[in-house]
Amino acid sequence: MNLTASGLLFFAFAVLTLGAGTAVALVREPVRAALVGALCFVGVGLLYLWLGAEFLGFIQWLVYVGAVAVLIVFVILLTRREDAGGETEGGRFAGLRVLGGLGVALALFGALAAAVLGSGSLYREVPEEPMVLEIAALGRELVAGAVPPLILVGVVLTVALVGGVTLALVERKPDA
């Protein structure tokens, strides 16, 4: 396949995302792992941009890098205790655990890849002209087409966040 500029770009973004993902698995220090995870989300956002869904790419950045990554990092700080909490690399079944995990992941990937490559009928010529998501269309779709789910997601979000906060609230001993 001849590599056009956008093809090159796609491979760059894919390598960035997958690289960051593997880094999350390998890096020992939890804070660094969280930050590399944020980098992986940025890569996924870039892939959305490449696929033309700009709105989703920026939403992905806003939600994951802006809010979720910072939340994760805060929680890591709150749960840092030198003695316990961290990784226990050793343990009797460390080697077995790693091998088992990798084995399952690779097996799944093999199955998925076979399914994807096998589905010849889906092999279609890619439309050449760059297509951009039409914001107004998305807006109308959201407001006209999918009103019940929109409100439902709003409710889910509120309930989840308020619930999260109440769970994590440290009760101030009134006058210790």
Binding site: L35, F58, L62, G66, V70
Partner: protein, 460 residues
């Protein structure tokens, strides 16, 4: 020699007649301007020999009508490149993008240098002193002096800290600040990158600033930095909401997410002289005040400069930085402020539109930068006056007053749209928009703080 203290309050007895070192400002300025003009003309003529007539034509035409001068000049240079160097298609596209980006970065770096000296001069004049006037004429070379000082200072990474994160943090803060500049609508058709979702891109990049501040605080391995970073993140997150809500109101009314279309939505003049800017509508005014307060908080400017509250935490997350990377933090803060003020101008103050129809002969991009610099000066004036807000008051102020006001501004904008604006609009929207100001703010402070204190005198 009797003690002679003049009638005015307090200046010292007198000054010797020694004149300030003899520098004739007029001459130096004229000389500098002369060198600049002659240099450019020579350069243009020299380059012109490659493809005769194009560059000179473009310059002459640009001087003819300044309103679209940058566009004409850019077209001229591109034509010159195509003609003289015979460049193919991909290179021309690349050249045009890099031309616009280069001018934007040059303009804003110049603005940054200017602001770093203007801020110190204005603060000095507020405090009745001169401000830096040693380096260059009226202290104009002070940024150069600061730059050299920053570059020569040793750049230490604290032991025990996370080396790579410590190096990366300032870059993570500065790059988004510069990227945002590409979205600002400087003039009709002069936006560098025409994004349909400009505002969302601005907020997405704004969100990454928190991660960068955390990285700076965490990797400095220092108690003060960590406390400063925690405060900065709490402040940024809680002030991003009002920013979002105020911008949402404008998005709703302008019907688009791209800043260029928003500025076009504010064109025209009502009753001949009142410009149609959003700031002249009730919800727009409150929205603008909200946006500006949140902008001050987002770029850690006084009275919200908590992270580097030097009276408590030395320099917050920037304590362990020195040398060039401290300058990058300094740069990121200013460029961030320009970016946010630029968006405030685009959203509420009618981007490149002139306030009065008669003033239309001044080019659009000049209006944009005038308004932007007006907001920056306002921020400096506020910095010279107000004491710092405490962290819990800061958060309470945002969550308990700014965000409800944001929702009211949204409601107000909707009502403004349905009542079709005009007197009815003002009548209906104003109470809705100012309700939190009258209801929530007085209750925010404890009742005792609102009471007027009386002081009695013992009689003896």
């Amino acid at each position: 020699m009797a003690v002679t203290i003049p009638s005015d309050a307090a200046p010292p007895p007198g000054r010797t007649s020694l004149a300030f070192p003899a520098r004739r400002p007029g001459l130096t300025l004229a000389a500098a301007a002369g060198v600049l003009v002659v240099g450019t003309t020579l350069l243009v003529l020299l380059l012109d020999r490659k493809a005769p007539g194009i560059l000179t034509g473009a310059v002459v035409e640009a001087l003819a009508h300044p309103a679209t001068a940058p566009l004409i000049l850019k077209a001229g240079v591109l034509g010159w490149l195509a003609e003289g160097w015979g460049l193919g298609e991909p290179w021309l596209g690349l050249a045009s993008i890099s031309l616009s980006l280069f001018t934007i970065v040059a303009v804003f770096m110049g603005l940054f240098a200017l602001t770093s000296i203007v801020e110190r001069k204005v603060l000095a004049r507020i405090q009745n002193r001169y401000g830096p006037n040693r380096a260059g004429l009226w202290g104009l070379l002070q940024p150069v002096a600061d730059g050299i000082k920053m570059l020569t200072k040793e750049d230490i990474v604290p032991a025990g800290g996370d080396r790579w994160m410590h190096l990366l943090a300032p870059v993570m803060l500065a790059v988004p600040a510069f990227l945002v500049l590409a979205l600002l609508p400087y003039g009709p058709g002069m936006t560098v990158v025409e994004l349909g979702v400009g505002i969302l891109f601005f907020f997405a990049l704004g969100a990454s600033a928190e991660v960068a501040v955390f990285m700076a605080g965490w990797s400095s391995n220092n108690k003060y930095s960590l406390l400063g970073a925690m405060r900065a993140i709490a402040q940024m997150i809680s002030y991003e909401m009002p920013l979002l809500l105020a911008a949402l109101a404008v998005v709703m009314l302008a019907g688009t997410l791209s800043p260029t279309l928003m500025v076009e939505a504010q064109a025209g003049h009502a009753f001949g002289f009142v410009p149609q800017w959003f700031v002249f509508t009730p919800w727009g005014l409150v929205g603008f005040v909200l946006f500006f307060i949140a902008a001050l908080a987002e770029s850690n400017r006084s009275p919200f400069d908590l992270p580097e509250g030097e009276s408590e935490l030395v320099a917050g997350h920037m304590t362990e930085y020195s040398g060039f990377r401290y300058a990058v933090f300094f740069l990121a803060e200013y460029i961030g402020l320009f970016g946010i003020c630029g968006f405030a101008v685009a959203l509420f103050l009618g981007g490149w539109h002139a306030p009065l129809p008669v003033l239309d002969f001044i080019p659009g991009y000049l209006w944009f930068f005038l308004k932007l610099y007006g907001l920056v000066l306002l921020a400096i004036w506020i910095r010279g006056t107000m004491p710092r807000v405490r962290i819990d008051q800061l958060l309470a102020f945002s969550w308990l007053f700014l965000i409800p006001t944001g929702f009211c501004v949204l409601a107000g904008a909707a009502l403004w749209h349905f009542t079709g604006g005009g007197w009815l609009g003002w009548l209906v929207v104003t109470p809705v928009v100012t309700a939190p100001y009258f209801l929530l703010l007085p209750r925010l402070q404890s009742a005792e703080a609102n009471a007027l204190r009386t002081y009695r005198f013992s009689e003896e």
